[in-house]
Symmetry: D2
């Protein structure tokens, strides 16, 4: 066991930012201090690791960041880290600081990077699931997902005011390139007439039938939630198709876009990020390498990164069943 | 004077909905009750007037509506009201209910309708400025404008989290087809790098220069606010042009869209709507017809509708000057 | 099995209101319609059952209630329902409407009422956990708890602005008469210096030592979260005691109070309430009587009411451990 | 004229913090940079001036502060600044940094300090009205007032959920020691049954009569807003008195307290603070000393500090009249 060897941990965020990343950084750093470790911030993800944008963190760096969206360590894409040469530079920089382990917060690409790096250079890393998309296995919920769902429903609540005032049909596009998790939560939470997700193909005819039957039931306003990565097309494309079938309808499209990534994290995400941040450091201290820390059934679980990023997380059939009952 | 004749007042909302419309309806209805009048809700604007969708209101109808976005009287376009026949039907319906005056809450088109109707049929009407665009003269602020500005900055605050985390350039399109009021308030309120409004032409070169100079000053993230009706094109079009000049920049576009219309009204809009709702009824009782009630320098003013809708409200030069100083 | 017999279900809310109650009512009613049942609203809880304040619900009653705090069916205490005579009246009223089953949404007292009623009169009932306190067994989270935690942290985020600006010590009292769930979530989520909960006794000396050690670590502002039912006294009492030990400190007390009960439910509570509302009706149809529907590890579970209300739900030791690490 | 002499400006916040203070600091500092001046942050108000807690500010210090509540320059009471010796020390420190003018953001006490200091040492100062209480003359609205009103109505909206669900009477105490501005805005904005302000004495009997008459009109829930400095006593005291007259009523009291001071500033406060921050620096450059910058009827006005702090700002009679009509 190399447990004794870990004295300096580097923390980085990578990929799309997610609310709660700051809370996770803070928890990891604070846990490090609790156990007498030195903690380093690696700025702008792997790119900063290559550029040697690395600074020792003290207590002041993590004051009043818990409640802020985004990531104060910043995030960036790094094409260079995909090359052998890039990773060599990154490794050399870590060694120059004496950093002997990593906490990597991000989505599947970011965690895969940590895995590769561990394979090549033996730098122990614990990954944390930081993405609003909730598309990582090994945890019931990723850091940022709950906040994104709340941002979405708050926006849709506002759109509903207008939909209802004008008896309109709104198509609202939410984030989720490969996964319908936000769409399902936001759809059930906003009494959507229909929810279109990447995991299921919904023919336009089916959607049109549903909207017609709701009109008969005198539901005069309707909101349809579309996950951006849906197989049936973008919200605008689907709206255009529906318009042909329902020409008398006043149809509008709103794309929530990047505002779903930001904002103060919710209570749930703060708690999740706090627990996982501590778990990342404790995991490293216990020799748990090349894993992602997550909460499953509210229990801490370390899953090998290769399993976490495999992309087999499925939407809850029960959620879809309930969504259907409630929108009929 | 026909003051004694007013015993039954009809209230309607028309055009795009705006937060605070419900508060204005409530205030008018409650003021009517205070003065012993009968109050009628005309649903779905002029269309409902033609369709005779008119109901007597009681205290219960206006309970817990003050704080809600949208309009519980609903709003709709009415092509038929643009015809002589349509207006004749509308008049007959009003007479059948004995309604002898109107409170019309909406934007320039809605108020112009009230003016025409007064010219043709002598139905006294007081208009209230209900639109998020703030493009009516005769009032410093329209009902809904303050809420829309706050909705915009709250959304942009979230977008900034991502912009900062990734050192990105965001173009955010806000509402304002003919008027840059929301753009200016949201732009100053969100530390925008630049604000593009319909009233001013900003060459792409000027914008690019500004962004370059800010990059030199090491402002790594930038937000540009674009009013939807801007002469320089949509946010997406401008972004595309800027991208050609600054190809290395990571540029994103977000269109806030209809969520700016909804939401619980702010304190300011509740107070404004409450005062104007009372003023509408008191104005009618005092024989002030064919006018719009507004607040100028916090004093109640009745402006002839024809003057209010003329579209000559100008943006505050001082605001533009301050915006420039703060973004340099 | 009496499965076929259920044709009319009465829904009521009872006890302190909680955000998401409306979403749960809506889901139950909508599920009832889906299965072809008649649904009745029993207003003001058991009191309304005795007063025969019972109305058949249609689709319109549950439009736009999902996103609203409180309960449109209202809630009330009922001393009379504690008497045999009261319950007899209540039963007679149910029978007069032909109501043959109940969905009861509320806390332990409300569910116990449903249990008693089932024992005495055989009226099948499924209870739903509707309380911000999260003190019911048989579900990981009660409806309203997540919203209350978010309301608390949003308020504390604001208080922190002042605490930090003035280097002050704030005692913030949150709800939780017998349970520290809100206090723990809000405490971790707001980087509290200490969290005082009913389940643990924290001597003032321990608290004072912690505050002193934080001062040494130059954490100049501090927030202490106190659950209202804490054994160590109210927030004000504890503040007064601490003041004696730390007279130089500028100490303030804020009691969040009833605002924690209200507000639009969060995404989590909307989803939870929606799933449980459907589960209540489906449970009754499947002959699951005298039980509470809950979600444990995201799976639907029906727990006998007598077990759900026993009050043995424990705070998560891991949460307390993490809270301690993060505040040290 | 000493216009040329101003090259280094110190900025401080003093007294109770208010949302928008950061936006005002940022605007002043940015305007200073625009005009080529050096800008200094004086931390913890006059206390920091005495302790020489003064740092030169650069662009980075004011990045992402606009949208944050509180004041990053911090605020503190200073008993020592009330002494000749204290002010002498403060002056010496300013001179040691070469600071030749001040921007002072705060309430009446803070501005009076700037006035005294100018009288004694000739240090030019422009004050900015930074207080949620809106009790300064020379400006229609103080920085922070609009945000505080919005915070209050958002909290009261939540309390109303519970009030309505239980048919309760709530007394909500808002800030305002000498002034009823927040109470009036929050009261009208939340459909309060009655508003008790320091400027008017409301006998308990009058309040009880109003509540009785509303009960007759079947308004089953009621909210009474009480400004903390009301002549009729605290919210709790008034509630206790009312309880004696209306023993059957379920009465609750909530004190909003310090959460009214914090939070992200509203659009209005960001714009106001931005304009006044620029005006402070430009005023100093134009030789406007010993004045407070404010906006009256949306025009920039410099008022002698001695006039601004005199405490003669009156509540709007029209607001009170409207409040009465709407609550009857």
């Amino acid at each position: 066991m190399e447990l004794k060897s870990i004295k300096k941990i580097g923390v980085l965020t990578s990929g799309g930012d997610a609310p709660g990343m700051n809370a996770a950084i803070r928890a990891a750093v604070r846990a490090g201090f609790y156990y007498g470790l030195e903690m380093y911030g690696i700025y702008r993800g792997y790119e900063g690791m290559i550029q040697n944008d690395i600074k020792k963190l003290d207590s002041k760096n993590i004051t009043h960041v818990l409640e802020r969206g985004g990531t104060f360590l910043k995030s960036a894409r790094s094409d260079e880290f995909r090359t052998k040469e890039g990773r060599k530079k990154a490794y050399d920089n870590l060694k120059s600081h004496g950093i002997d382990a990593l906490v990597v917060i991000g989505g599947d690409g970011s965690l895969t990077g940590a895995h590769l790096f561990y394979q090549e250079y033996g730098i122990p890393a614990v990954g944390l699931p930081g993405t609003i998309d909730n598309d990582l296995s090994g945890t019931d919920s990723t850091i940022g997902f709950d906040t994104a769902c709340n941002t979405a429903i708050e926006a849709i609540d506002k759109i509903r005011d207008t939909a209802t005032s004008h008896d309109r049909l709104f198509f609202v596009e939410v984030m989720g390139r490969d996964a319908g998790f936000i769409a399902i939560n936001a759809g059930i939470g906003s009494a959507a007439a229909s929810i279109l997700i990447p995991e299921r193909k919904t023919p336009v005819e089916t959607l049109v039938e549903k909207l017609k039957s709701r009109t008969k039931a005198r539901k005069t306003s309707n909101i349809v939630i579309v996950a951006e990565g849906g197989k049936s097309g973008s919200a605008q494309e689907i709206a255009d198709k529906v318009k042909k079938h329902l020409p008398y309808y006043d149809i509008k499209v709103t794309i929530l876009g990047h505002l779903q990534r930001g904002g103060a994290p919710t209570s749930f995400d703060r708690l999740l990020a706090s627990k996982l941040g501590v778990a990342a450091v404790e995991g490293l201290m216990q020799g748990k390498y090349d894993v992602m820390a997550g909460l499953i059934n509210n229990k801490l679980v370390y899953t090998p990164i290769v399993k976490a990023v495999v992309g087999d997380k499925e939407v809850d059939e029960e959620d879809l069943r309930v969504a259907n009952i409630l929108s009929t």
